[in-house]
Each structure stands twice: as C-alpha cells, then as structure tokens.
Amino acid sequence: MLTAFHPGVSSQKFDTNAKIKAVFIYNFMKYIEWPKEYNSGEITINILGDNQAIYDELTKMSRVKKISNQSFSVYKIDSPGNVGNPHILYIPEDSTDQLSQALENLDGKSTLIITEAPGLARKGAAINFIVQGNRQKYELNKSNLESRDLKVASVLEQLAVLVN
C-alpha cells in the first residue's frame, strides 16, 4: 500500500480594490489643499453607508499615515443628514442615491466629495472613481473642487480623467 500525496492550495480573501482606492485617497489628501480653517485638528473622512472594506482600509491607513502632521480618523455615517463637516465624504456605489441629499447638507462646506459610480463627477462629486481597462482611475471635476474652495495640485490633474 503506497502512501498518497496530498496537494492543495487556497486563495486569499482580500479586497484589492479597497486597498488601491485607499492609496488613491491618500494621494488626494496630499495633493488637495483645504482652506486654512481645515488645517488644524484631525482630518476626518466620513463614509456614507456600510462599506466595510473601504472603512477597514482607510482605518488601517489612518494608523500609519499623516498629512502634514495632521492625523486622520474615519467614520461611518448612516444617513446624509449626519454628514457633518468632514474633510472628505466618501459615497460608495451602493449609497449613490443619497448623493443629492448629501450635496444639500454640504452646501458651502469645503468637503471633498468622492464617489464611485458612472457620471457622478457631473452631478456634484469632485472626484469619482471609474474603471478603465480593468484598472482603477479617477475622474476629476475641477469646478466642483473650486466651488468648495479646494485647490488641486497639477500632478493630480495630470493623471485624472478631467470632467467638466
């Protein structure tokens, strides 16, 4: 009786897209300038809805990274009514239908609105994640940034899909 060999390999469970988006978001924070009143205290990132993967990645990132000595914190909010006055509001694809209400609540505030569904850079988002050739890219609407008194570095513009 010969002994049998036992082959077996398992796949890794890991949301690659969330990590890649987190790296993008760190660059957005680096290359976007907020008005002075936002430059003290911690940077806040609010996530609308319950996207656990992006929440986990941003939270991990917040433990190891800072922007110009400002640390940052990540919060999940359950409705656009609780949006507050964060540096960034992240609206995952499955919360897209709440964009218009979030825009109303953020009127006059210098919040960078990041979305991830087709067409949203033309509907009020400053940055919208898109997919091109199986890769994560981002649309950037400069008017939507400037209307919130946010300034963007040229490096971010050069690598963006610009939308008006």
Binding site: T3, V9, N17, K19, V23, K65, V131, V155, L159
Partner: protein
C-alpha cells in the same frame, strides 16, 4: 591446489546464503562482501542477487525508517547488476520483485518527507523510485504518480513562499514549472488548473497587500498594470477548472475574486450568486 581455492571461494557464497537463511545478517554480509574482489563471483548474477537480498534484509531490520538508507542503496545496485548480467536468467524475476519492493519503500519515504523541511529528500527519493522501477519494469507509466508528486511538491513550495518571501520568485518559477508539467500530461487536471489560477491570483493580491499607502500615483498605476497582467493570467486556468467542475466551491470563490479584482463586477457577482445557490442547495440537502 587451484581446485581447493575454488571450492573455498565457492563456499563463501554458499555460506553467505546459509547465514542469510538463518538470519545471521552480519555474517552473511561479511561473506557476501568478501566476494567483491573475487573474479570467481564478480560476473555472476547469483552473487549480486544474494548480495541484494542480504542488504535488503539489513535495510528491513535496521534502516527501515532511514529515508536515505545506505543498505537499501547497495541492495538496489546489487539487484540491478544481477538483472544486467542476466536479464532473463534464474534470478531475474525475483530481482525484479525485490526491486519493486524496494522502490515502494523509497516511494513511501518520498511521501513521508514531502514537507517544507525535508522536501529535497523527497525529490531525491521520488527520482530514485522512478529509476528503480524503470530498471525492473522499463515500460512503467509514471504519469499518474508524476501528477500526484508534482502537485504535492508545488504545495510545499507554496508553503515556502509564505515562510521565505525573499526567495519567493525562485519558488514561484518552480511551482509554475511543476503545474506546467502536470498540464502537459493532462490538460484537464482540475487541481493543476485551479492551483495555477490561484498562484497568479495570489501573486497579484500579494502585490496589493504589500503596497504602501504613501505610494505615488505613477507607481500605483504601474503596480496596477502588473497586477492586471497577473489576474488575467490566472483567469484561463480558473475558467478551465470551472469548465471541468462548475460546482466546486473553491473555483467559484476564485472566479469571484479574480473578476472582482479585475473590476468586472457583473461577472464577479455571477459567480458569487452561483456560490450562494450552491450553499443553499447544500443546506437544503443537509436539512432535508
């Protein structure tokens, strides 16, 4: 005088066989070893056959757990020489049977040492097993065993990648080569297809996992190019595994992950739904 020497010499073999039968292995070994330089014996199949037999018994009695047993090596060489001297003689069939027995012990030792610590011994023993078996039975087909061994060895290298990331590239090259050998034998081998798919997928995931959050955008885009290549390389293998068995959970999970990482979310959702459906069917079966 010459006749007396010859008779004395002849007695060496006879006595060695007698000691062998009586279980006096050290005495049998001493006598059989003393025939090495005796021209009366060096070209006789019977001498090598009995030498093989004595050493085989020594292996069984004293080195059965030794995966690199020197007694076994001598036994194998002796039976092989006996066969070479007389391929169809009195001792040939028994030599073949003894070689088969020894080959099986070598194979079992290959299996026993197929772990991250001792896998090099496993490779040596597996090749030795094939060499012995080919000598005894030249028409033996090793394809099925090669598939089993290569898949298991690839699993060991996969474990070593986790433990020794510095040499990961070297291990990956070996793993791919092993799976390719399996697929050259049997392109429908589900494990090789699935494992090859997972290998490329995991390589892509490893790159993302290791990314620093502070990576600049150009570097990020370059890495995205690299991982997309890897995810696309994994896809045909995983799809083939799916074609071979559409209800294998691991394959459905793999396809869900690959398409998700490629941002083809509709397709990812399709395989997720199939997985959910499979789970429902299984829980229904278990419940009913």
């Amino acid at each position: 005088m010459i006749l007396a020497i010859s008779t004395q010499a002849q007695n060496k073999l006879t006595n060695a066989v007698r000691f062998l039968k009586e279980g006096e292995l050290d005495k049998a070994k001493e006598l059989i070893d003393s025939t090495n330089d005796d021209s009366l014996f060096t070209d006789k199949a019977s001498t090598y056959y009995y030498k093989g037999y004595v050493y085989k018994e020594l292996f069984k009695e004293r080195e059965a757990e030794n995966v690199q047993s020197p007694y076994r090596v001598v036994a194998v060489e002796s039976f092989k020489t006996s066969l070479e001297l007389e391929p169809d003689g009195t001792y040939s069939e028994s030599s073949r049977m003894n070689l088969k027995y020894l080959a099986e012990t070598v194979y079992n030792h290959a299996a026993a040492t197929l772990n991250p610590e001792h896998y090099k011994k496993a490779i040596t023993n597996y090749n030795f097993y094939k060499e012995i078996t080919s000598t005894a039975y030249p028409n033996t087909n090793f394809q099925e065993k090669d598939i089993q061994f290569n898949l298991a060895l690839a699993t060991i290298y996969n474990n070593l990648v986790q433990a020794d990331s510095v040499n990961a590239e070297e291990y990956y090259t070996k793993i791919i080569s092993l799976y390719n050998e399996v697929l050259a034998i049997d392109s429908n081998n589900i494990s090789a297809n699935y494992n090859m798919g997972i290998l490329f997928y995991n390589q892509g995931v490893d790159i993302v996992n290791a990314m620093d959050y502070g990576l600049d955008l150009e570097q990020l885009n370059e890495l995205q190019d690299r991982i997309v290549v890897l995810f696309k390389k994994s896809l045909p293998f995983m799809l083939k595994a799916y074609e071979l068995n559409p209800q294998r959970r691991e394959t459905l999970t793999g396809l869900q992950g690959i398409y998700f990482s490629l941002n083809e979310l509709d397709k990812s959702e399709r395989y997720k739904n199939e997985l959910d459906q499979l789970d429902q069917e299984q829980s229904g079966t278990e419940g009913g």
